[in-house]
Amino acid sequence: MTYIRSQFRHPGLPKNDLGYTTKEYEGAISTLCAGCGHDSISGSIIQACFEMSIAPHRIAKLSGIGCSSKTPTYFLGHSHGFNSVHGRMPSVATGANMANRDLLYMGVSGDGDSASIGMGQFVHVIRRNLNMVYIVMNNGCYGLTKGQDSATADAGSKSKKGVANPFQPIDMAGLALELGASFVAQSFSGDKEQLIPLIKAAIDHPGFAFINVISPCVTFNNNPGSTKSYDYVREHVEATATVDFVPLKKEITTSYQKGTGTDIKMHDGSYIHLEKLADDLDPYDRLSAMNALQNARNKNEILTGLLYINPESTDLHHTIQTSDRPLNTLGQEELCPGSGVLEGINGELR
């Protein structure tokens, strides 16, 4: 019996700008099933945060309940974390973000946690454009309770027992677009080359950044007939473009040939480079993204990559004009400036 991961690492591991190796971004050893797509996504989050040289203590991980929501234990072991009530991660994230706008909020949820019990919370956090990364580890089934079809299971997709799902699925990316999310992407756990730059771009995006990641459940939903198995996804995946995230400071050394792709400028000067962008997709145009998604669906394709981005996104703090300083740094003097100030305000209203 092991369940023990050695403390030894490759002696030549590269270090990032903070002098850390990926070891500083790891979490505890995963207790998910061997081969679970969620573990791959954890690996991608680790790699993205490492490559962006984010200090682990500047990140807060938030999750609800489910296999997906267990994963924050398995990455970023030196970061803050809150494992909340089923489907209520968005509320906790909103509260945390309101109290401390300086942290980076990494929300992790599943298809059950977001598309069923947490649907009400999910739609409102999008509407408010809370500044956070929201990753749905979407496996189309309830893995933690032995694999019943979830709300994202495609109609006709067969479960492990061979029964076809009779209901229409909720398209998480389509829903996010419909509700006006300012960053919408879709990816596959087995495609780190695409997923890592998408996570990086999502982290950099100042607003609600949603990534729907198809993540096969090896134990209950990896059978023939399932539309969320490794084989099916690989056969039907269609990327909008190859994605690269180029942070501001790397811009000088990374130069893509002009005219070979589309560069999306981010608010801080970084950019997302899209190579071989599909003809029918304009990632700045919500309508085009919705069309592309619908067209792919009609062709039984799973469209992955960056679907939509609003580079002029303004987040919740801006909308409701909160204090520039995080609330948790304000002392009593700032919060209760005294009766004189109150009288002044009252005077203005008379």
Binding site: T2, F8, R9, P11, G12, A34, G35
Partner: protein, 589 residues
């Protein structure tokens, strides 16, 4: 790259770094596991089969396995393989019952072995049970060769040596001790079917500089002097001793001097300290016994006054390297250094010498006065005469002599059966899954974090008074267990079956040392630049699969794999499995 052919046993053999580096290819992880299980007798027998002298080698081996040990690349120091071998030897029970028992049914063939050292004794052990009548000739009064004459008793107690030499002599070997063979032709004329020469490199090199002749009485050739001490002819030395040379013989000379009355013992060596030939641990032990090591000193003159040695003068140098990396020692220009000495021991190298091999024997000699010997078969230009050990290719070490002995024995056996000598027997190999359950393996897969344990030494005040008192005390059993658990079980191989892989990346994500990458195929040079972690150790192979459905390949850099089994535990389809690989060099049979 082409997919790795893991059906070829040589691939996995190379992954077991320690065993691969051992000239005799002793299955190291196998016996270390047995030690951890407390099965010392079994561990001893695995060693005995492979390297013939576990107790001796567990104290004196040059340990080529340890610099090769994978652990040394993962953390600071390798597993103390050599001293674990000694644990097996020290704690074994009756092993004789597991050894072949004389008398054996004779096959009518007679073989002469010249020299009673490790090479000859190995030939004797391998061939006696096959029915050969073996006659062993040696000028000393007991077997063991240089293990008896050159290795001091404080490193190798005489009882240990006698025990392991006797295991072989008890196989019905006809010994002719105190017999110096002065003519190979005479031996051939006695009608032996084959002759094996294992006479070592018996002559110490002399240093001819001014004053050498005049001071002769107090200048001794290191190996001769050590032999003279071992055979109790020499009992004391002057208070001030200079030992010239930087190899292990020099270390034995200086430490022996400290035990025979030497108080100010200095080792003086031409090369820089770091480049001395002596094993690092031998240097440490010498320093511990208050011996000074002066490096970068080139001997100039033996200073003699009134017909008596007073000391030596040396020129100080420093090492300069040219563009090709070749070293030359350049004088620093500082004044010459005078060091007082009552006695000087010269340990600057060994030479082979074959004045007793006549032209009429048909044994031809090549460069450096060495016999022409086939590197695989050990056969000389006289088809019935074989060479091994230091006498074949110059001074090496005991374990190399043993490896030569095994191969020469195979050749002699093939030769006397009139079979081709170049068709060598294949190794015995086996590959068995260790899977017991989802997270259970039949080996101890957990990787310990402990750093290397030091072997305790007896107090200097005691050991310096008694030449025969062993300095190293050996691991106690608890420490031995801890040290044994540091072994990474490199013989438990990570075996990949491409057709089962669903490319879920689980193995890549879990691997603690980032050994595994799934990427597009390419030439090795290019592939190594695209792996998850830097792949700079080119001596370690890449394990490459055939093309997977996504047109990528699995590439595993063997360099720092911990053999922890996590890749196999996290694999949902058992595309990875941990399989124990056993590789045994086939002996004469």
């Amino acid at each position: 790259m082409k997919p790795t052919d893991d059906k070829n046993p040589e691939y996995f053999h190379k992954v077991v770094d320690c065993q691969y580096a051992c000239p005799a290819h002793t299955p190291v992880p196998e016996y270390i596991r047995l030690i951890a299980e407390g099965k010392y007798t079994e561990a001893y027998m695995i060693n005995w089969e492979s390297n013939v002298f576990p107790g001796i080698l567990g104290r004196t081996c040059d340990r080529p396995c340890e610099p090769a040990c994978r652990r040394g690349r993962v953390e600071e120091e390798p597993v103390a393989i050599c001293r674990l071998k000694r644990v097996a030897a020290d704690n074994k029970e009756d092993v004789k019952q597991f050894m072949p028992k004389a008398p054996f049914e004779k096959n009518g063939k007679r073989i002469a072995l010249i020299g009673g050292g490790p090479a000859s004794l190995t030939v004797a052990r391998d061939l006696a049970p096959l029915g050969y009548e073996i006659h062993l000739y040696d000028e000393q009064d007991a077997g063991g060769g240089m293990m008896r004459s050159q290795i001091p008793s404080f490193r190798l107690p005489i009882d240990v040596l006698n025990e392991e030499v006797d295991y072989i002599l008890d196989l019905g070997i006809h010994t002719q001790f105190k017999t110096y063979v002065s003519s190979l032709q005479e031996i051939l004329d006695m009608g032996y079917d084959a002759v094996f020469v294992g006479t070592g490199a018996p002559r110490g090199r002399d240093l001819i500089i001014p004053g050498r002749k005049e001071a002769d009485r107090n200048i001794h050739i290191g190996v001769d002097w050590l032999a003279s001490v071992a055979f109790e002819h020499t009992h004391k030395i002057g208070k001030k001793v200079i030992v010239l040379g930087g190899g292990n013989t020099a270390m034995d000379c200086c430490r022996t001097s400290r035990r025979l009355g030497g108080e100010q013992v200095k080792v003086v060596v031409r090369s820089p300290y770091a480049e001395m030939k002596a094993s690092p641990w031998e240097k440490e032990d010498a320093l511990h016994e208050d011996i000074q090591i002066l490096d970068n000193h080139v001997p100039k003159i033996f200073v003699v006054e009134d017909g008596k040695l007073k000391g030596m003068t040396f020129e100080k140098v420093h090492a300069v390297f040219n563009e090709k990396g070749k070293r030359s020692l350049v004088p620093t220009g500082e004044p010459e250094v005078f060091i007082e000495a009552d006695d000087v021991l010269v340990a600057i190298g060994l030479e082979n010498t074959f004045p007793w091999v006549e032209k009429s024997t048909g044994v031809e000699f090549g460069e450096w006065g060495m016999p022409v010997v086939d590197a695989v078969t050990f056969q000389s230009t006289n088809k019935s005469v074989f060479f091994g050990g230091d006498s074949a290719f110059g001074p090496k070490n005991v374990i190399t002599a043993v490896a030569h002995g095994h191969q020469a024995a195979i050749s002699i056996n093939l030769y006397l059966k009139e079979k081709s000598l170049t068709e060598r027997p294949s190794p015995f190999v086996n590959l068995v899954s260790q899977k017991m359950g989802i997270h259970e393996w039949s080996y101890d897969s957990e990787v310990e974090n402990d750093l290397r344990y030091a072997v305790p030494h007896a107090a200097k005040t005691v050991t310096l008074k008694d030449r025969k008192m062993e300095v190293e005390l050996g691991f106690d059993l608890q420490t031995a267990l801890k040290e044994a658990r540091r072994c990474l079980n490199c013989d438990v191989q990570t075996v990949f079956v491409k057709d089962r892989c669903i490319e879920c990346d689980a193995c890549m994500d879990i691997c603690p040392t980032s050994c595994i990458t799934f990427t597009a195929n390419g030439e090795e040079e290019d592939l190594r630049t695209r792996l998850k972690a830097p792949s700079l150790n080119l001596s370690q192979d890449l394990y490459v699969s055939d093309t997977l459905p996504t047109s990528r390949v699995m590439v595993k850099d063997e360099d720092v794999c911990l053999h922890c089994g996590l890749c196999a535990e996290r694999c949902p389809t058992s595309a990875w499995d941990m399989q124990q690989f056993l590789y045994k060099v086939t002996k004469a049979c």
